[in-house]
């Protein structure tokens, strides 16, 4: 049995019970404010005081702020400048302060009493530390029995203050962990969303890309998609900077490309529209290097425009490579500039675009990978599927010695694959090389939409210098092709679209008519013998009779059917 100077008895069991309760409450609380309140309540109960408050150091402001206050009047939120008042002195001098009569202490911060109306007689204040770092102080006011604080009170407050300091430090750590976990989850989510912006790998397409961000999110991107006439639109870009703001600009640029790329069939024009958009709306200092292009697997013809991005390369196995310097600045710097366009015909070659994260890969301290290194690595994987070859490059870079500084992104078009999937038709290849896309339109595969297609086609025919009879032939051929699609490709009850793309050739017009129906076995389509007078089967005959070329361009399974028709002006 212990007895304090007030003659009150506190059993050791009482103290142990309170101490145990205190630790239990501390352990179960993972929130700083709740912990502070519990600590103060327990201390006050143990010391039997009229009021108490707990101050924490506000590191940003450099003063002490009252985070909990219990008693007749709350001073929660009260700020005490560092070193001021009894509480400030306790913290800055790192010692317990016991003041029997505050009216005789020059350091007493009387503001609190003045505003609260509470009369402070005596104060006991203990500093709280974690390691060597002061985090605040706990103070109690006026023993309930009117006696001054004794030695035992001092010891108990010091012990409780230390325990509270540890609990507060734990709660702060827990808060930080929760916040870190939240940020990590958000980054993971952003990374996932960003990955979903990249096109899915399609082994049937002669184009594939790969992207490995150095952090959770990437400032690099690539995209590609097939246009209605089989031409593939593609791009690869690199946003300046890394992290979340780069990733957001990347998402915006990628979305703009995907949207504009479906209608604008000129890479240079597309880049200048993107450039204006980014100049108008992007915060200063951020820019995007980007290469955009169109590749026709049927002809190997590739058009591209480069806004400040690394030169792409065209390579053949073990035969070196050629590259094409960019001649325009990145997007987002100068508003009204033109972007030049380049045209290459791939001859079973590979076209490769990459971000500087790839070429600037370093071995040790000196050597950079460079385009030569990429070319060399590709020589090693000849004959493998395209996606695997890109993975091989990443694998090599991840193995010993190489160090990444940046996001790694590669986009490859393998024209030799296109040669295997798309049968080349020599006459078409030569026609396409001098073709100019005029317009495209999509109609539902329904009979009452056919008449809507003819006037615009007739106008294109007239503009291309065809006679009235020839214009009528064009209308007839396109309608017959569309009717075949409605009746045979889609068939009874099936719905779908028909697209018509019209290209101007030097000496005529080229029409590409596509459906998205299951593949039609072209071998089974032949015009019927004309000496047999019966309805049906005439359409294909009409098409062949009025057009100079009519060829089905084989598409990968699931991509529909594509008929290419060419009509040339008569030479006189």
């Amino acid at each position: 049995m212990l007895q304090n100077n007030a003659g009150e008895t506190t059993t050791e069991a009482d103290e142990l019970r309170l101490a145990a309760e205190l630790s239990r409450s501390f352990a179960s609380s993972d929130n700083v404010d709740a912990t502070v309140r519990i600590a103060l309540g327990n201390v006050m109960q143990l010391l039997k005081v009229e009021a108490g408050s707990l101050f924490l150091v506000d590191e940003a402001a450099g003063d002490l702020v009252c985070r909990a206050s219990l008693g007749p009047n709350s001073i929660e939120g009260l700020r005490v400048p560092a070193g001021h008042g009894i509480v400030g002195r306790s913290v800055s001098e790192d010692r317990i302060e016991a003041v029997e009569d505050v009216s005789r202490d020059a350091g007493f911060f009387a503001n609190a009493d003045a505003t609260s109306g509470f009369v402070t007689r005596s104060i006991l204040c203990a500093p709280m530390k974690v390691g060597k770092k002061a985090i605040g102080a706990v103070e109690v006011l006026n023993k309930q029995n009117g006696h001054p604080f004794d030695l035992r009170d001092r010891d108990m407050l010091q012990v409780m203050g230390n325990a509270a300091a540890l609990a507060i430090a734990n709660a702060r750590l827990a808060d930080q962990l929760v916040e870190q976990e939240r940020i990590k989850r958000e980054l993971e989510l952003a990374s996932e969303i960003q990955k979903s912006l990249l096109p899915p790998a399609d082994p049937d397409l002669p184009i594939q890309g790969i992207n490995r961000p150095i952090r959770e999110v990437s400032g690099d991107f690539y995209d590609y998609f097939t246009l209605p006439d089989g031409v593939i639109a593609f791009c690869l870009g690199d946003v300046s900077g890394k992290g979340m703001n780069a990733a957001l600009l990347m998402a915006k640029t990628a979305a703009l490309f995907r949207c504009l790329g479906k209608t604008i069939r000129a890479p240079a024009r597309l880049l200048s529209i993107l450039n204006r958009e980014i100049c108008e709306t992007t915060s200063r200092g951020m820019f995007v290097t980007m290469l955009a292009g169109l590749y026709d697997p049927a002809s190997g013809l590739l058009r591209f425009s480069n806004a400040g991005h690394l030169p792409p390369i065209v390579r053949k196995p073990c035969a070196g490579f050629r590259s094409f310097e960019a001649s325009a600045p990145p997007l987002g710097i100068l508003r009204d500039i033109a972007f030049p366009e380049e045209t290459v015909r791939l001859e079973n070659e590979m076209f490769l675009v990459f971000s500087d994260g790839v070429t600037e890969y370093r071995y040790g301290d000196k050597e950079e990978l460079g385009p030569e290194g990429i070319d060399m690595l590709l020589n090693l994987s000849e004959g493998k599927p395209l996606g695997e070859r890109l993975e091989d490059i990443l694998k090599e870079l991840n193995s010993g010695g190489w160090r990444a500084k940046d996001d790694i992104t590669l986009l490859a078009i393998d024209d030799s694959l296109a040669g295997q999937i798309w049968r080349r038709v020599p006459s078409i290849a030569s026609a396409e090389s001098r073709s100019d896309f005029l317009f495209g339109l999509t109609i539902p595969a329904e009979a009452d939409r056919l008449k809507l297609m003819r006037p615009v086609l007739a106008a294109a025919g007239k503009a291309a210098g065809f006679s009235d009879v020839e214009v009528a032939d064009l209308e007839l051929a396109a309608t017959e092709a569309a009717e075949n699609i409605i009746l045979h490709a889609y068939g009874q009850g099936q719905r779908g679209d028909i697209t018509l793309a019209v290209h101007r050739l030097e000496d005529g017009l080229m029409l590409r008519i596509r459906d998205f129906a299951p593949k039609v076995d072209q071998a089974k389509i032949h015009p019927r013998p004309l000496d047999e007078v019966r309805p049906g089967g005439l359409g294909t005959h009409f098409i062949r009779a009025v057009m100079d070329d009519a060829n089905f361009i084989p598409l990968p399974d699931g991509e529909g059917n594509l008929l290419e028709l060419v009509k040339r002006r008569k030479k006189d």
Binding site: L450, E475, V533, P535
Partner: protein
């Protein structure tokens, strides 16, 4: 509608077609032709107002001609525009159908005799 009307003159049914005859209108044209062949022994198809025809319209005409032959009726085409003639030629049907330059010529030619 591609079927402008049907009139009777001196025992012949005159079926007037108009506009664009493609897959959308071919069904209506076919029904009108077969209907006319049920009603009259001689059917003249006035094509003067037809601005477009393709294989689906031609198919209806060919089917009607076959029905006519089977039931020993007459079916002749009248006032074939250059555009429609081009399609008939492409199908090598310009010699198979009786074709009259206009209704007066069709009347003068009389039933049963070839138009050209």
């Amino acid at each position: 509608m591609a079927v402008a009307g049907i009139t009777e003159s001196e025992g012949r049914l005159i079926l007037a077609l108009e506009g664009e005859i493609d897959l959308e209108q071919a069904g209506a044209v076919r029904r009108a032709l077969l209907d006319a062949l049920k009603k009259g022994r001689t059917v003249l198809v006035d094509l003067s107002q037809v601005t477009y025809i393709d294989s689906s319209g031609i198919a209806s005409l060919v089917e009607a001609l076959q029905v006519a032959k089977k039931q020993k009726s007459e079916l002749a085409l009248v006032a074939v525009s250059q555009r429609v003639r081009r399609v008939l030629e492409l199908a090598r049907l310009d010699k198979v159908f009786q074709i009259h330059p206009d209704l007066a010529a069709a009347t003068a030619a009389g039933a049963g005799s070839p138009g050209n």
